[in-house]
């Protein structure tokens, strides 16, 4: 069920109609959250509900076993990790492996029949909930918190619908305690939640969905054509699409969480205005990056932070894991490779770091350099094949230049969306005098209801022709 659908409006209205009746009693609240989340998940993915329940059940039992039999907890941890990674491998990566084996056989002229694909389909949010489930088991293993013995509470954590399909990926040790009691909702919390929901809807329906047409058209062609200027414009639009689509989803999820009295971590923080690629990764899909940092990077890098060789290896492994997390295709690995290359370049030269230290103006130069380095990665992320990615990448540096004014004239709205998103981030990074900021905040108290009403109306009437959320396929 998409957050920007009529179905979801009905679902959320029904959910909050009954919520006051159950929210104060723990068992009633957990049961209600679990049932509502299963209804949400079943809407278009009924055939995969069993998988969510089964992987959850294995982790629930493994965590209890770790608590009961601490001397064998390593065994139960491997059982939990094995089941999660096994499910991911089966549903997400098996066809990719079969494809590569078939290609190898074809090249080597082995002559045998190619292996048939399983085509099991991709369960909604599988990469998100398996990572959360693994974080639960690992945190129990590390003794960060005591596992719950109540299965309803466990499923209320694992399947919670506002973040089930596309995150933010919460950490069990910080989130599960929030479920222990009902956190009363103040008018301020409610208002903050509403603001996030409206911003999220606007980002998704108006900005992301309106620019998606141009991006889809550019990447739907079987042979890539178009000038260098056109492809840089497509890249800018794709940047806006993916950012507004994904951060819009996260905002809506966080807003609904606030309405329930729950706090989800922030997932985006104006990533395109990052001074270095490392800082970009601290602001883009922050919950995944925090997960990878804690469960992949730190264990590989070890405790000696001065060991640069090991830190570089850890960076490569983390980026590789991030690439694989996003999808089973070579272009995602190329995407990870691109980031590895620019992060290495940044570590070797330290050029942007020097610019940051020099002053405010040069800090923005560092941001511009980072943006130019990061933006082409979108080609590998969006392309449907390696061939298409390489062709489009070639167009970016073809020096076949057409007038940008002509392109903008033909895509006024898309250009407007690009300018709007970047201007907002630029404004965020400007150092505004505190006096002006205080005045702005006071004024916002009066103007904000009208601003949100306008954004909500635009999200309904000026919504684009786009469809589901991009990150639903991961």
């Amino acid at each position: 069920m998409d957050f920007n659908s009529v179905e979801f409006v009905g679902f959320i209205a029904a959910f909050f109609l009954l919520w006051p009746l159950v929210r104060k009693n723990n068992t009633a609240r957990w049961t209600y959250l679990t049932l509502a989340s299963l209804v949400f998940y079943s809407w278009g993915y009924l055939r995969f509900v069993w998988l969510l329940l089964l992987t959850g059940l294995i982790d629930y039992l493994a965590s209890i076993a770790m608590d009961r039999y601490p001397q064998r907890k390593k065994l139960f941890l491997w059982l939990s990790l094995g089941s999660n990674l096994g499910v991911l491998a089966l549903f997400k990566y098996v066809d990719f492996i079969i494809f590569n084996v078939n290609e190898l056989m074809h090249w080597s002229s082995a002559g045998s029949e190619p292996f048939p694909y399983l085509r099991l389909g991709l369960p909604l949010g599988i990469s998100f909930y398996t990572f959360e489930s693994m974080s639960y088991s690992i945190d129990v293993y590390r003794g960060r918190f005591k596992p719950t013995y109540n299965i309803l509470k466990f499923y209320a954590f694992l399947a919670l619908f506002p973040r089930l399909a596309a995150g933010p990926i919460v950490r069990a040790s910080t989130f599960v305690p929030q479920l222990d009691r009902y956190n009363p909702i103040t008018p301020l919390k409610w208002w903050n939640g509403t603001r996030l929901i409206v911003y999220g809807l606007f980002k998704k329906a108006v900005l992301a969905d309106q620019v998606s047409g141009l991006v889809d058209e550019a990447f739907s062609a079987t042979t890539v054509s178009g000038s260098m200027t056109y492809w840089w414009f497509v890249l800018l639009c794709f940047g806006v699409q993916i950012y507004c689509d994904f951060s819009g989803y996260s905002d809506i999820g966080r807003g609904i969480g606030k309405w329930m009295g729950l706090e989800f971590p922030q997932n985006f923080n104006h990533p395109y205005f990052s001074e270095t690629t490392t800082r970009y990764w601290q602001r883009w899909h922050m919950s995944l990056m925090a997960w990878l940092r804690d469960y992949v990077y730190y264990p590989v890098a070890g405790k000696d932070f001065r060991n640069k060789r090991r830190a570089n290896i850890a960076m490569m492994v983390t980026l590789l894991a991030s690439g694989f997390w996003h999808g089973a295709a070579w272009n995602y690995l190329m995407w990870a490779g691109w980031f590895a290359a620019i992060m290495w370049y940044e570590r070797l030269t330290g050029f942007q770091d020097r610019l940051i230290r020099r002053g405010e103006a040069t800090r923005f130069v560092a941001m511009a350099i980072s943006f130019v380095l990061i933006a082409p990665s979108g080609i590998f992320f969006r392309a449907s094949s390696v061939t298409q990615a390489l062709q489009a990448f070639g167009r970016l540096y073809s020096f076949d230049i057409t007038s940008p004014i002509e392109i903008v004239k033909g895509h006024v709205f898309e250009a407007g969306a690009v300018v709007f998103v970047h201007a907002r981030s630029f404004w965020f990074h400007l150092k505004i005098p505190p006096k002006f900021n205080r005045m702005r905040r006071r004024m916002k108290l009066y103007t904000e209801p009208y601003e949100l009403a306008a954004l909500l109306t635009m999200a309904v009437f000026l919504r684009g022709p786009g469809h589901g959320f991009v990150y639903f396929v991961f």
């Binding site: 890539v224 904000e448 309904v460």
Partner: protein
């Protein structure tokens, strides 16, 4: 301050209701007729209830208007914008013909794009959940109020030319009529069509599947007619240059499969509003002429 925090949600609710009501009521240039989603849903429900079925892309949907073609035969225009002759589309189209009808006619509307693999699936039916179908079947009026406004309508209105742009009226018989007022700017350039077609070559597998369908339909006693729908001279030239689409060659293949090819004598006799779709009076005239060729029109 505390009072303000309590009244803010009320102000938000009232302001939202007011702005939505104003948008729904006074927006100058909303798409007329039924919303496109409802139109898709109606067509997706068709099964065994037509004497004549029209297949194709937006050109077929806009240039072959059932209400101009016959008042006695049940004609279903099963064409969709951006469509291609993929296997699942052809089989769904054939299933609309009523097996007990005295005369069963299949009309294949051609543009070279319908022979490309520009679609990965057939969008109006693919990935439609039951709730998607249900809501457009049972709440069309309510959802119609919130039909989206296209960005062109917005841009044109913001530029102070609310009359400028395209419009479409979607009809329950599966067709749509459309038009545009382009003002001093003239028609949009055709270069967009060139680059789009350049990215999608004609797929011989689709051509072969289409011919197999024609042959099978003929074997089942269905009359099958094909026609290359009129478009502007510029687009005709692009189709021939980029796609190497030759109407004569394609017509030969079509006849070879057992179908009857109808050649439009003077393609320049019909005016388009955007190079691809006929203006309403010409679409009506073309539909009448075509129906006469097939002897569909009432005696």
């Amino acid at each position: 301050m505390k009072k303000l925090r309590i009244t803010r949600p009320v102000i938000l609710a009232l302001a939202t209701a007011l702005s939505m009501a104003l948008m729904a009521r006074f927006w100058p240039h909303k798409i007329t007729g039924m919303p496109e989603e409802r139109w898709n849903q109606i067509k997706s429900d068709w099964h065994h209830d037509a004497d004549v079925v029209i297949l194709g892309d937006s050109r077929s949907a806009s240039d072959l208007l059932p209400r101009e073609m016959s008042s006695t035969l049940r004609i279903a225009n099963f064409a969709f914008p951006g469509n291609a002759y993929l296997d699942d589309y052809l089989s769904r189209g054939l299933a609309i013909l009523d097996p007990s009808a005295k005369r069963r006619v299949l009309i294949i509307g051609m543009s070279s794009k319908t022979l490309t693999r520009s679609l990965e699936g057939w969008p109006p039916v693919a990935a439609r959940s039951w709730s998607e179908v249900w809501k457009w079947r049972h709440l069309p009026e309510l959802l119609g109020v919130f039909a989206r406004i296209t960005k062109w309508e917005l841009v044109n209105t913001l530029r102070g030319k609310p009359e400028l742009g395209t419009w479409r009226e979607f009809r329950a018989d599966g067709s749509f009529v459309g038009g545009a007022v382009w003002g001093n700017a003239g028609m949009p350039p055709v270069e967009g069509a060139r680059s789009y077609l350049a990215g999608h070559a004609i797929d011989e597998a689709i051509v072969a599947e289409l011919m197999r369908t024609v042959a099978k339909a003929r074997a089942d006693g269905i009359e099958v007619y094909g026609v290359r729908l009129p478009s502007s001279t510029a687009v005709d030239a692009i189709e021939e240059e980029v796609h190497h689409f030759s109407e004569a060659d394609f017509a030969d293949k079509f006849r070879g499969a057992g179908g009857t090819w109808i050649t439009v004598p003077d393609r320049t006799d019909y005016q388009t509003y955007d190079h691809s779709h006929l203006i309403q009076p010409d679409a009506e005239r073309f539909s009448r002429w075509f129906a006469e060729q097939l002897r569909l029109r009432d005696p």
